[in-house]
């Protein structure tokens, strides 16, 4: 297998899915009507409800859904099961489920007066769905933040060449916010300066490698070379499990990342969160674009770069830790979430994008088109790790992406630096946003019961402390899989709402209903498997060894898993009842209230 074939397969998937399947559903089932008024035109207010050109909205929606998710998922899945299962799930997932979820969430909102998913659920299913969504969203964010901080701290500790670029990225992000919102400098010159300086710092990161390496050594010598915490990590020693050590340098970088995230969480969004994400987006987009083009032409220019080096299939149930199980079904389907299907897209699409749809004919290119474009990002991540050298997953990804980029004449050392940066930058900038959203969610959810949580500093610090506790379990792969499960459950919930709505208006619901059943069953099964793995592989070894923090962290993760299953059961039962009610008597469904009276 080589990269050209995979890129061609991706292109064919996108073409056939869009032109054959998605368009047919849009015409025959949804029957989108360009003459019908959309909420954006009916309730135009110039901000939330604003008719927007489809091409602008496509770019906006794509950027809103595509970043770190599709990259990390593909890396983990290819490492565990090989590239073939990951490739098949990416292709089949996006073709039959992913686009349908994103597109349908937009359709649901547009056809229901611009109401969000929870408002539709409140009307068609049960009022408690909104409360259950709080549970999903908070734990989704907690698990994701834990996974990302864990990945970031270990990569930053091991890769001192990336530090200069990251420091400059943060400084340039702050400068960009000042330039745009205070000094009123145009976006193009501000972008050129800030992205240019960040890129230069990233590419020359290896020049300062020695300085940061000596910093790491100095930090580690403070404790006489002894680790701060020791824990059992089932992902070490080729997934057989071994003792892992948290050195002072890792704690130092975890604290630096936490401080950065804290600032991103409490400062005004224009001051830090938004401009830092923007600069990071350019770095990653540039690397990905060069990488995707390199993967396409690599077969002709540098054939040795485009050959897959990892096994196509690593087994149905690869070993991960001494006792746990990692069966391909259901675990692969939650390990790769974004890129194949994602619940967050539906949530965002139903409020952010749906209210800007100018005309119903735009729902398909914006909703399905963005998801199919994100699939290509996931595919590139998979290709990068498939051609990368052996080693830790992130390093293999960076090496693979660096190889693709080097096809364009950039020296391999610089290209690999860019590959590392593409990964680290996007994970880092998204992590600060996650803490920002966690802080808001925590305040909204529990602020009434526990008033101190209304203080943004208290809510931010609690969110960060919870994430750090999860990091100390040392098993970000399990965290990632639990996050994927929470995400996929949200996707199943969104597809369930679409199915119920289609039944309530007497339309054919199969295109959403069948994927919903698959995602629901798969996701609940995967949570149970992950809870078992956590108990056997992490909680028990650490508890027996008397390690309080890792045992507490993994115990917390098992509790989260149980909570997610309980929430899923409630949602499933409510959805089942609502579906049968409307399926038998479609006219009995209450009509949507206008979002604005």
């Amino acid at each position: 297998m080589n990269t050209l074939l995979a890129v061609l397969l991706g292109a064919v998937t996108v073409y056939l899915t869009y032109t054959r399947y998605a368009r047919a559903i849009d015409r025959r089932v949804i029957q989108s009507d360009p003459k019908k008024a959309t909420p954006a035109t009916l309730y135009m207010d110039g901000v939330d409800f604003m008719p927007t050109n489809r091409n602008i909205l496509f770019g906006y929606h794509f950027k809103s859904i595509a970043a770190a998710g599709p990259i990390v998922g593909a890396i983990v899945a290819a490492t565990l099961w090989g590239w073939l299962p990951a490739l098949l799930w990416l292709v089949l997932g996006v073709a039959f489920i992913g686009w349908a979820s994103d597109y349908s969430a937009i359709v649901l909102s547009v056809r229901n007066e611009g109401n969000s998913l929870s408002a539709v659920a409140y009307r068609l299913v049960t009022p408690r769905t909104r409360s259950l969504l709080f549970v999903f969203i908070f734990f989704y964010l907690l698990l994701l933040s834990g996974a990302f901080v864990g990945i970031m701290a270990s990569v930053m500790e091991a890769q001192p060449r990336t530090h200069l670029g990251i420091i400059m990225l943060v400084l340039m992000g702050l400068l960009l916010g000042q330039m745009l919102y205070r000094w009123h400098i145009g976006l193009i010159p501000a972008t050129v300066i800030t992205v240019g300086v960040s890129l230069l710092a990233i590419l020359t990161g290896h020049l300062t490698e020695g300085i940061f390496k000596s910093l790491t050594e100095t930090l580690n010598s403070w404790n006489g070379g002894a680790p701060l915490v020791t824990y059992f990590d089932p992902t070490l020693a080729g997934f057989k499990g071994a003792e892992a050590k948290i050195m002072p340098s890792l704690l130092f970088w975890a604290i630096v990342i936490s401080l950065f995230c804290y600032a991103g969480s409490v400062l005004p969004i224009w001051r830090m969160a938004q401009p830092v994400v923007y600069v990071g987006f350019w770095i990653t987009a540039l690397a990905m674009l060069l990488g995707l083009a390199g993967a396409a032409v690599g077969t002709f220019v540098k054939p040795e770069v485009s050959q897959f080096t990892i096994p196509a299939f690593a087994g149905w149930n690869p070993q991960l830790g001494p006792g746990g199980v990692m069966p391909l079904w259901p675990m692969l389907f939650v390990t790769i979430a974004c890129g194949a299907i994602s619940g967050w897209h539906a949530l965002f699409g139903s409020v952010g994008t749906a209210r800007q749809i100018e005309n119903e004919a735009d729902m398909l290119p914006v909703g399905a088109g963005s998801m199919l474009a994100e699939f290509l990002l996931g595919l590139l991540a998979l290709l990068a790790i498939s051609v990368g050298a052996k080693g830790p997953p992130v390093a293999a990804f960076a090496n693979g992406l660096g190889k693709f980029i080097s096809i364009w004449g950039i020296p391999l050392e610089y290209a690999v630096s860019l590959g590392f940066a593409a990964f680290i930058v996007i994970v880092l900038v998204v992590t600060q946003l996650i803490f920002r959203v966690m802080r808001v969610t925590l305040t909204e959810w529990l602020g009434e019961v526990f008033p101190p949580l209304r203080n943004q500093h208290v809510a931010s610090l609690i969110s960060i402390a919870l994430a750090i506790l999860l990091v100390l379990t040392g098993t970000w792969i399990y965290l990632w899989q639990l996050f994927g499960a929470a995400n996929q459950l949200m996707a199943a919930l969104s597809l369930m709402l679409v199915t119920i709505w289609l039944a309530s208006v007497g339309k054919n619901w199969l295109y959403a209903g069948l994927p919903m059943v698959f995602m629901y069953v798969t996701t609940v099964a995967s949570i149970l498997v992950t809870a078992y793995n956590l108990y056997v592989n992490v909680y028990q070894p650490n508890r027996i060894a008397g390690r309080i923090l890792p045992a507490a962290g993994s115990g917390l993760m098992v509790l989260v898993a149980i909570l997610l299953v309980v929430a899923a059961i409630f949602i499933g039962l409510d959805g089942w009842r609502a579906f049968f009610k409307y399926w038998r008597r479609p006219a009995s469904a209450p009509t949507a209230a206008p979002v604005r009276s």
């Binding site: 110039g46 602008i56 770190a68 946003l433 920002r436």
Partner: protein, 99 residues
Amino acid sequence: MSAKGKQGRRSSRRWAALKDFFYGLTGYEFVRHALEMRREAESIFMIVTMGDLLGVPVLPPVYSLRLVPYVVPDIVAWKRRMAIRREFWEKDEYDLHGI
């Protein structure tokens, strides 16, 4: 129209679409956020000057009346905005790009 003219129009349409796409990918979020910030500032101004309409008297009516001609065009939209129940993830903090 000649074939060359048609081709030219088609390519200029594609170029415009690409430009729009890049604008959506880059600058559009800043524009939206600036609009959101302006709306927040306007809402505060409106509640200070026209709070009586919602039962929140802040400014004595004599001063509010002098401002009426300037704020009349925005009153309907402002009252709607105040009345709407927002979901918790519709706040600007939820502009969470890329998950």
